[in-house]
Symmetry: C2
């Protein structure tokens, strides 16, 4: 195999064009083999095979700086920069992350997992080069999906303003994670594709770019020719390159959304080996409730920013029709549009991954909360037990979201509670309401939740006890129950158990009442400790005689961790929690 | 005066065109009179006189929905919608806020003070209208400066995608707060202005808009004609209207940056009555240090997003040359560009108002902190005693910023400390460092600060005492000193006084040592209590025998408040703090 002889881009440069084709073919084959066994970002990488080979053949990394947007399309880049073993040897599949990572290679400049940042990064890298009086190429490789993020536009403006060498490569496969929206920048890109770059009103030329279009973006020779032409330009250049998402694997080319990313699949049939959870999940019951409401009320509308499958599958989106909006990978638009919808009498529900919600603090604060508009925000993946790449962590949401005024953030602990909260959130008109969608298997009580959630900050005491009060927030309510059971079974202590339900405010009446016959208050939350829910409890009780023990994980970008191990490292085990309580009580 | 007879837009519609001109002239005169006595956003409103009269003449607010971006240009709109008294009667000048405000009028849809949100709001308002099957015009009025924000671009895309009636009015006066950057969208706008809308590669047409250009944007008749032409369109329309910033007041037309906004001025000469603080301030010593470093080191670079005067005046910017970058009102770009600069060996300092930093949580977290790049962030106006419009509050920064991993957030208490921290931040290579630039008069010790800030989280004990320990963070260190003095003078108690310096971590050694001879720990911070610094102390000490009393203000969008009153309402007075300590000690 020629591919395995490539230990650095220098090795690639020594090859003949014929051999480069061979490397590309072998790389695609290796990619399919690994992806079919291991899973990963399928479509984006299959489409980038030839482009990546051409880039490393023509440019000179790491002197020339490559910046991959999102960086989920950097697998071939990893193969060609000393990490091929992680793609051809199953024992080493997990040696590399799914994103660029400076800890792995000097060819990876940044750890990146969110979209639309590459141009801003490139603008800084290029400006530093200019300040130092150095000369080399700075390249940003960005997909058409990522171009929908406002930060990408800000980066386009700044690169054009700086005016020195920067190559922006738009990898246009006419698909985001899901199908692209139809207007705006997608109109611009489509017109350019259809006219082979000749359309009037060229968006990129309008911004001042030296624009080049390549229709055959999976043709290695054309790519090499184009890159050689623009290499070492003394001004910003934009290459609009049309590629095929999933190129070279029929099922991926045919079903581009399903094959954007996913787990192991059958290489013959293109069927995913696991069809996912076939039973009801928090996600499925959420979707069902919203679909049901939509049918009865045409003002109910679901909003999403580029990850629609989070809420609805393709069939559900079809059914929802104009009551579903995917704004592109443009979270700021989603949050503020939600505000506008609520203001004008609609009932908007915005579904977002916690990690991507981070892009909208000001939209949640200055737009939704300051204007106190009753949008509903469904926060997914806000848990230690969700995505665990350091660039995709979802457990910073409580410090981020819960200290914004006016906003109500709810932490359901089971299906019935979640649905009751969601129903209330959609129908009420008083507050922006966010719901921390539970993570993990569906817990059902079988009893409808009749709570009136308009009575804010009212906690539920599920077991009355003494000496110790356990506050189990959302996902960690079950943990509080287990700790209580252990205390009862092994130590004869009946703890008070509390389901706080509200993250954004304290039940001060309950907290005040605990002083009478409790000594210790324990808070458990599925997220970081600092700035979290427990600390508001500790502060409130700081001047009381109650001791407070807060549990959460340490403030750190934990990477590809095992959730149970991480929790244990942070003292979040039944044994440790019980022991610390006993220490205090003794 | 005709103007004072206008109690609603209906009154305007009854007038002849000649009388409309009279209203416009009177409105400009009233505006100048009020601004010269009261201050406010001068340039933006002077330029909007004719457009606002024409808008209310042709359209039918509040059925047609007007959404003003930033809304600092809405003064004439307020005059014409029942609030004229606040502009012609000095006794009522403060009846209205400087921004649109739904509490004042049904003609104001949103409370807005940050840029680039109008299009997203409009996209939601229009979509809700469509869902309800209603028919009217939705208008967003956005300046060219605001167009540089990525969120504006996201809104343009979504409006184009929705495809129904929305009028986007780009009020192009070729100036942001300061001079616009030169490339990207500004190239596009300039080419369109210079060609009277005829330039090839029309940015807005590329995005699918029905585009109209008006060069005489301060000509009332032309404006009326244009608005009548596009009213009730069944698709998105973009009106590119060229106006004169400061129109009708020569000093404002001539010096557009100085007359963007400001305090009272002399109507004859155009001189501001107060020339500002002539002595040294935290801002001036900050600028001096950075300018000095720039001279010695060409890799030191200052970055700003649309508010350059925060850091440098026009002369200083000139001197800084290519070591100063204004990215436009594009805070995301500023934060991530800072990351790219640091990665490639430059020493970037990004100066930002706390309230606008809110637009960059993910850029600070996912870009700068995850990649642990040593950018310096200067956070201005992070205090209860800074801007006090509810849309411009700067005191949410600690919960927002201090729980991001890897980042070091420093709270200097005097000039020497601030400069030592800034010097360290710029020169070190280990962490992103943010500095909470002190607010208020310069405090000087006269002694150089020799602290080694690379020893993270080391607090400074400025007075050793017993019973009570006072942690005075940043701006509130002086308050801690005053409380200590009162305790000593009146109650014979020598308190321990601590200058924490570090917001992002605790000096656990110091905290542990307090148990020995202290009973109460008091934290004082100039910001909101929830999610703040004090709560991390309360949590850490939750299981100890120490009582903790945290001081900060309540989580709320406080509006146009008196800072001393607000602090008193939140118990932040020397008397109250002393009394609560004594209660606990007795």
């Amino acid at each position: 195999m020629l591919l395995e002889t490539i230990q650095s881009p220098q090795d690639l440069k020594a090859l003949s064009i014929d051999d480069l084709h061979k490397v590309a073919d072998e790389a695609r084959q290796a990619l399919l083999e690994k992806l079919s066994h291991h899973g990963g970002h399928n479509g984006p990488n299959l489409g980038m095979v030839e482009m990546t080979v051409a880039l490393h053949y023509v440019f000179n990394s790491p002197i020339d700086k490559f910046i991959f947007d999102v960086s989920h399309q950097s697998y071939i880049h990893k193969m060609l920069t000393g990490r091929v073993q992680a793609f051809i040897d199953p024992a080493h599949y997990d040696d590399v992350s799914g994103y660029t990572n400076p800890k792995e290679s000097e060819h990876d400049l940044f750890t990146v997992g969110h979209t639309s940042t590459s141009l801003a990064l490139a603008s800084g890298v290029a400006k530093a080069r200019d300040l130092k009086g150095e000369i080399y190429n700075v390249l940003a490789i960005i997909g058409d999906g990522s171009l929908s993020g406002g930060q990408a536009y800000e980066g386009l403006n700044q690169i054009a303003t700086t005016g020195s060498n920067t190559l922006v490569i738009v990898n246009d496969n006419d698909q985001s994670i899901a199908t692209n929206p139809k207007g705006g920048i997608y109109t611009a890109l489509r017109n350019l594709r259809e006219s082979k770059g000749q359309a009037a009103d060229n968006f990129f030329k309008a911004l001042g770019y030296d624009y080049h279009y390549l229709d055959e973006g999976n043709d290695l020779n054309s790519l090499i020719e184009l890159f050689q032409e623009v290499k070492n330009a003394n001004h910003p250049v934009l290459l609009h390159i049309h590629t095929i998402k999933g190129k070279g694997f029929k099922p991926a080319e045919a079903n581009r959304e399903a094959f954007h990313a996913g787990g192991p699949f059958n290489l013959e049939t293109g069927q995913y080996l696991s069809s996912g959870n076939s039973g009801a999940t928090y996600n499925s019951v959420t979707a069902d409730l919203i679909m049901d409401k939509m049918k009865k009320d045409s003002t109910v509308i679901a909003i999403n920013a580029g990850t629609p499958m989070l809420l609805f599958n393709q069939e559900q989106r079809q059914k929802a029709g104009n009551q579903f909006v995917d704004v592109g990978i443009a979270e700021q638009e989603a949050a503020t549009m939600t505000t506008g919808l609520a203001k004008n009498g609609a009932k908007p529900v915005w579904a977002v991954f916690s990690t991507f919600m981070q892009r909208t603090y000001d939209q949640l604060s200055h737009d939704m909360a300051l204007n106190n508009q009753a949008g509903t925000v469904l926060v997914y993946g806000a848990s230690v037990s969700s995505m665990n790449d350091e660039s995709h962590l979802g457990f910073f949401d409580i410090p981020f979201l819960s200290h914004i005024p006016n906003l109500v953030y709810l932490a359901p602990t089971n299906k019935e509670e979640h649905l009751a909260m969601l129903d209330w959130a959609i129908e009420q008109k008083d507050h922006p309401v966010a719901i921390r969608v539970p993570v993990g298997p569906l817990r059902e009580t079988g009893l409808d939740d009749e709570t009136d959630y308009s009575i804010l900050n009212k906690n539920q005491v599920t077991q009355k006890g003494s000496q110790v009060a356990l506050f189990g927030l959302g996902n960690f309510y079950a943990l509080a129950e287990k700790v209580a059971k252990e205390l009862a079974d092994k130590h004869g202590i009946t703890a008070t158990v509390v389901n706080p339900k509200f993250i954004t405010g304290l039940d001060t009446e309950l907290l005040d009442s605990l002083a009478e016959n409790h000594k210790v208050v324990v808070t458990l939350e599925d997220g970081i400790l600092e700035g979290g829910y427990g600390q508001t409890v500790a502060s409130y009780l700081g001047n009381s005689n109650l001791k407070v023990q807060n549990y959460g994980i340490a403030k750190e970008f934990h990477d590809r961790y095992n959730a149970d191990e991480l929790l244990a490292e942070n003292g979040i085990t039944i044994t440790n929690i019980v022991n610390r309580i006993l220490e205090e009580l003794s």
